[in-house]
């Protein structure tokens, strides 16, 4: 267990006329080395939830435990939490500010009061992890392409060596090649560096392909939570809250509803193809 949320509530604009309860009684446990995807209709509270995870927003009630310690305790170090739970905001490249790529990535490590050598090592390590080559180290971040900028921004968070990496729609606004780069990066971090990943996503295809767990949110509540294969069985329920399932899964649901003897819980196109071929051979 690395993060545990118990009965967490959060309201924006408390006491004002535009009070809005963004999170209602959330109970969650994020385990070590999971690859979790959070999905939900716009305004369902995904971004709010992930900002609670590293203490940027404080819950109105309920508690959040990090490795068993309550993060709202007085003697709990928020700085430690923020270094252990790295948060990558939506469009993280909008937060680049330094004159060169290296300097920007080094911002986090320098804030950590580490020894200079360690800070430097983790800076260059992070840049290597995200695949930014040496030729770009002294370039202004503003001169990079969209995908490169985003990778530099992610490196800036990786450089503080988080155990858990939380990303808000890391794929938004990228072209297919850029998306693939980011996804491959996340997969590599997850499998090689054993970093726990929590990612907000709108693409069910991506979720089906990469995540080991899906959390579905609706109007501030967690409505479904489990393996993609299980969660995507609830196509009707997901449609009702404005979400869908991967097209391949949807197709299999259709076929099964028409009486075809196929397994319904296929996630990817390849899986569906082989399942359909198997069925065609049988009939």
């Amino acid at each position: 267990m690395s993060i545990l949320l118990r009965n967490v509530n959060y309201t924006y604009g408390k006491g004002s006329s535009e009070e809005k309860q963004a999170l209602k009684n959330i109970n969650l446990e994020i385990h070590k080395n999971e690859f979790t995807a959070i999905v939900g209709h716009t305004g369902s509270g995904k971004s709010t939830l992930i900002q609670l995870l590293n203490g940027l927003e404080k819950a109105d009630s309920g508690e959040i435990l990090f490795h068993g310690k309550n993060i709202y305790d007085k003697d709990f170090s928020m700085k430690m939490l923020r270094s252990k739970v790295g948060l990558v905001f939506q469009y993280p490249e909008h937060q680049l500010f330094e004159a060169t790529v290296v300097k920007d990535v080094a911002f986090g490590p320098n804030n950590m009061e580490w020894e200079p050598l360690k800070a430097e090592l983790s800076t260059f390590g992070a840049l290597k992890d995200v695949g930014i080559g040496e030729e770009l180290f002294d370039v202004s971040p503003l001169a990079l392409s969209g995908g490169q900028k985003r990778r530099v921004a992610i490196a800036g968070v990786l450089a503080v060596e988080p155990e858990i990496l939380v990303l808000d729609e890391p794929m938004a606004g990228l072209d297919p090649a850029g998306r693939k780069e980011i996804f491959d990066l996340l997969k590599k971090l997850h499998s090689e560096r054993k970093i726990t990943i929590i990612m907000v996503s709108h693409s069910m295809e991506d979720v089906a392909e990469y995540a080991s767990r899906v959390i579905v949110m609706n109007q501030g509540e967690v409505v479904l939570d489990g393996e993609p294969r299980k969660v995507f069985r609830y196509e009707k329920e997901l449609k009702q809250i404005g979400l869908g399932v991967p097209q391949a899964t949807s197709l299999m649901h259709c076929l099964a509803a028409q009486g075809a003897g196929v397994k319904e819980d296929c996630l990817t196109v390849q899986e569906s193809v082989s399942e359909i071929l198997k069925w065609l051979k049988r009939v």
Partner: protein, 269 residues
């Protein structure tokens, strides 16, 4: 955190004051403010205060809301009052060492405080009942004659409304950038003043970059929709005077007349 700042403090209510043409409100407020400085007579203040409260009741804005506008000038208020109180020559009624208070000073400081307070209250009442966009519309219309002196009135009004439009966006953006840098361990709360200023850099640079990007996008979008300045441009909500607006103008004139007669004909106090 930073979101708590409210700018353009419109108070939503359905009242005759809210519905008035903004031009009337701007003119009326200016008139009121100027009038505050034109008399030194107790009766004048009675009329001015009475008039303010009458409008306030009509506007349905709670008094506690309007009074909030005084907070930022509180220090200035005390400062001017004290200055006037101690440094006005005249008949002394109290003396303590080098400190001496005069009747004239007391009178002057009370009147001065009164003027400042009602200046702020009056203009607060206007901004509370008028949306910023209505306000710029009104200014554009009222300043129109200045076009003949080659003042770019339309452009100024356009800049004002764009600026107003962008304030909430930039506030949100600042909030987001601040959080993002805090997630990377930035600390905005501790350190010396110089240190803190330096710590603002990771916020300011992205904020400027994004403001410029947005400005660029907006300019392109305006160009794409054939924006060509003010000439021949029509409005979605043109300002048109209604019966009540003429009535309001009439009341403004009545206020001036009443004020004049109160100050001139009632015994000096």
């Amino acid at each position: 955190m930073i979101r708590n700042i409210t700018i353009g403090q419109y108070y939503v209510a359905d009242s005759v004051i809210h519905r008035l043409d903004p031009r009337v409100k701007v003119t009326g407020t200016l008139l009121y403010i100027v009038s505050l400085f034109l008399f030194h007579n107790f009766w004048g203040y009675v009329v001015a205060v009475g008039c303010f409260f009458a409008v306030m009741v009509l506007s349905k804005v709670p008094f506690s809301y309007i009074v909030r506008g005084l907070k930022p000038i509180f220090f200035m208020l005390v400062f001017t009052a004290v200055l006037n109180l101690f440094w006005t020559p005249g008949t002394v009624f109290f003396r303590f060492g080098a400190i001496q208070l005069t009747w004239e000073g007391l009178r002057k400081s009370v009147f001065m405080a009164f003027r400042l307070i009602f200046l702020v209250l009056g203009s607060s009442l206007m901004t509370l009942t008028t949306t910023p966009n209505q306000l710029t519309d009104a200014l554009e219309k009222l300043l129109r004659p200045l076009r003949h002196l080659h003042v770019p009135v339309h452009e100024i009004a356009m800049m004002m409304s764009i600026a107003l439009r962008f304030i909430p966006i930039l506030v949100e953006e600042t909030d987001r950038i601040m959080k993002a840098q805090m997630a990377r361990g930035a600390d905005f709360e501790s350190g010396s003043v110089l240190q803190r200023l330096r710590n603002m850099l990771p916020i300011l640079v992205p904020l400027f970059v994004s403001a410029i990007r947005r400005a660029n996008d907006l300019a392109l979008a305006m160009d794409a929709r054939c924006y060509h300045g003010g000439d021949g441009r029509t409005k979605m909500h043109p300002l048109r005077y209604q019966g009540r607006d003429f009535a309001a103008y009439f009341i403004c004139i009545a206020y001036c007349v009443l004020l004049y007669s109160a100050v001139t004909y009632l015994p000096m106090l």
